[in-house]
């Protein structure tokens, strides 16, 4: 009965990293551009499936299929953006969630995507890299858990994306983005093409969703539509609000804390039936979401001043 099982917590670290990359995209949209993107899971689905189908059906090497999948997902993001970015913020949110549901149903029913049999066999090259890396790690004593290479790869990518987004945020481009979040009309009056910036923000979010989708696909080794359920996006929002509004660093902290909490609750040993324990886990996550949003809306690392100035 060991709570501190290495395999388990390496697994939690991987999931936290995947949610981190996924939510960086959300943060760019919500925290820095003012777009309520409810379809991030849909972009992840497009990206992951594109990568899977290119490798399995078209026989592409992973090294080519993955960047191509990012391009395809960004194109999907641009398409959604072109169609709906002129809508009011909450309408835009509803269009994006409808988009992500349509994508999920298409991949569940369309014959070309393996129907609801899903896609398997795209991770051969990754498995080879993983075993090669495991030997290297074993040589330096880290060979215990099989998934450490995936953990290292996920977190290296997450920190890279974090640094890139932070640099972008400090750049003039980031400044305009934040101005658009503050007041679109004023930004337009200063000559900023608001629509183009929103489109770029959505496109980058789609790319980040694809990167998260890539690692999710490698983690579960099988692409299946229910992995890209809207609840994935909702959990991403919980990570965002826990970490802190308009704070990229907060996303990483939020992802680690929330994943550690929800997975750690699996060890909660109460005299309850399995079903009740399962429900309790989610009740606790739900209550945290409510209390955070009510009493600490800026989350852990968000700035309270900015929140108040904007409200």
């Amino acid at each position: 009965m060991s709570f501190f099982d290495l395999d388990f917590w390496v697994g939690v670290g991987i999931v936290a990293g995947i949610y981190g990359i996924f939510t960086l995209g959300l943060q760019l949209n919500v925290g820095f551009t003012g777009l309520i993107n409810l379809g991030q899971a849909g972009f992840m689905c497009v990206g992951a499936y594109a990568m899977g189908m290119l490798v399995v059906d078209a026989g592409w090497p992973l090294g080519l299929a993955f960047p191509a999948a990012i391009v395809i997902a960004v194109a999907a993001g641009a398409l959604v953006g072109l169609a709906s970015l002129r809508l009011r913020a909450d309408y835009f949110g509803i269009v994006t969630i409808a988009f992500s549901e349509i994508v999920r149903y298409v991949f569940q029913n369309a014959a070309f995507a393996g129907g609801n049999q899903g896609i398997i066999g795209y991770d051969a090259e990754w498995r080879a890299f993983q075993s090669w890396a495991s030997e290297r790690l074993a040589a330096i004593g880290l060979g215990e858990a099989a998934e450490v290479p995936l953990l290292v790869a996920v977190w290296a990518t997450l920190l890279l994306c974090l640094a890139a987004l932070r640099a972008l945020q400090l750049s003039p481009w980031g400044r305009v983005l934040k101005a658009i979040r503050e007041d679109e009309d004023a930004a337009a009056a200063l000559g900023k093409n608001v629509f183009a910036f929103k489109l770029q923000s959505l496109g980058i979010a789609a790319a980040l969703a694809t990167i998260a989708g890539f690692f999710l696909a490698m983690n579960v080794t099988y692409l299946y539509p229910s992995e890209f359920d809207p609840s994935f996006t909702f959990f991403g929002y919980a990570v965002l609000i826990l970490g802190g509004f308009a704070s990229y660093g907060g996303v990483v902290v939020g992802a680690v804390l929330l994943c550690a909490l929800t997975e750690g609750l699996r060890f909660l040993d109460l005299p309850l039936s399995a079903g009740q324990a399962g429900s309790l886990r989610f009740i606790i996550v739900g209550l945290i979401l409510i209390c955070l949003s009510m009493f600490r809306p800026q989350g852990l690392l968000g700035s309270k001043a900015e929140m108040q100035l904007r409200a």
């Binding site: 750049s171 481009w173 101005a179 007041d183 004023a186 930004a187 093409n193 900015e306 100035l309």
Partner: protein
């Protein structure tokens, strides 16, 4: 930085511009012109359609009928960001500063065609970006000093007082080296001394950089002393246009605007 100017052609020509909101005819066939390098005041009672006209000229709203020409080329129908890029910058009646951003960042946003605002340029021409950023920062510092806001440069714009926000919005407009500046009641909420300083800056910019100003103003003293031309609107129509002294005596203006209140200004 004086623009190429065809002899006598106005920098801004508004002809028969009309705008209707549901049943309300906000602007009715408004026609007037603004000469290069002039300081033109746009006056009229509340609800005369002044702000709506400014919205139509700046592309914030689209006229139902009529044309707006800036430097001879039509701009009505262009999105507001395209009009701004042509060199027409505006401020708003209810000042719109980016509250959750620093005063300096607010200013930096005024810079036009900044290479740093394009992802591809950010990645590949980093030197150009650094140069443009430094130039913009230097111009911002100078303008902030001119408007006595330099002390507040790193504070949140939202923390400024109403008057200071007005000044910031005006200074930010100047960042873009505009050729035509549309000011919507720039003096509202600004104390007398600072207001005078602002108007001196307007005249300096007209003299040294050839900028043209069109501003909505209610304070007749300012209009009479500072404006070299006046356009008077009432109930959506342009009822009179001309130098301030002529406007003061024009009967139509008195009926439409001054007379209705019974006492001379």
């Amino acid at each position: 930085m004086t623009a190429t100017r065809k002899a006598g052609e106005p920098i801004l020509a508004v002809s028969d511009v009309t705008k209707r909101f549901g049943g309300l005819l906000a602007v009715d066939r408004a026609t007037f012109a603004v000469a290069h390098g002039s300081i033109t005041a746009l006056i009229g009672p509340n609800g005369a359609g002044k702000t709506t006209l400014l919205d139509l000229v700046s592309g914030y709203d689209r006229p139902d009928f009529g044309a707006v020409r800036f430097e001879g080329r039509r701009v009505d129908g262009l999105a507001s960001y395209r009009v701004a890029r042509r060199g027409v910058v505006r401020t708003f009646q209810l000042t719109r500063v980016f509250a959750a951003m620093s005063v300096r960042d607010n200013m930096m946003l005024g810079a036009q065609r900044h290479p740093g605002e394009g992802l591809h340029r950010l990645a590949f021409s980093r030197a150009a970006v650094r140069r443009a950023e430094a130039a913009a920062r230097e111009r911002a510092e100078r303008l902030l000093r001119a408007f006595a806001l330099d002390a507040k440069a790193s504070e949140y714009a939202g923390a400024l007082s109403g008057g200071q926000r007005k000044l910031l919005e005006f200074a930010r407009a100047l960042m873009a080296k505009p050729r035509l500046v549309l000011l919507d009641e720039p003096m509202a909420g600004v104390n007398r001394a600072l207001g005078a300083k602002l108007l001196d800056e307007v005249e300096r910019l007209r003299r040294e950089e050839g900028m043209t100003f069109l501003f909505i103003e209610h304070d007749m003293d300012i209009v009479m002393q500072r404006a070299d031309r006046v356009v008077v609107m009432a109930e959506g129509q342009v009822v009179a246009e001309g130098p301030p002294e002529f406007i003061r005596r024009d009967q139509r203006v008195i009926d439409a605007y001054l007379g209705r209140r019974g006492n001379a200004a």
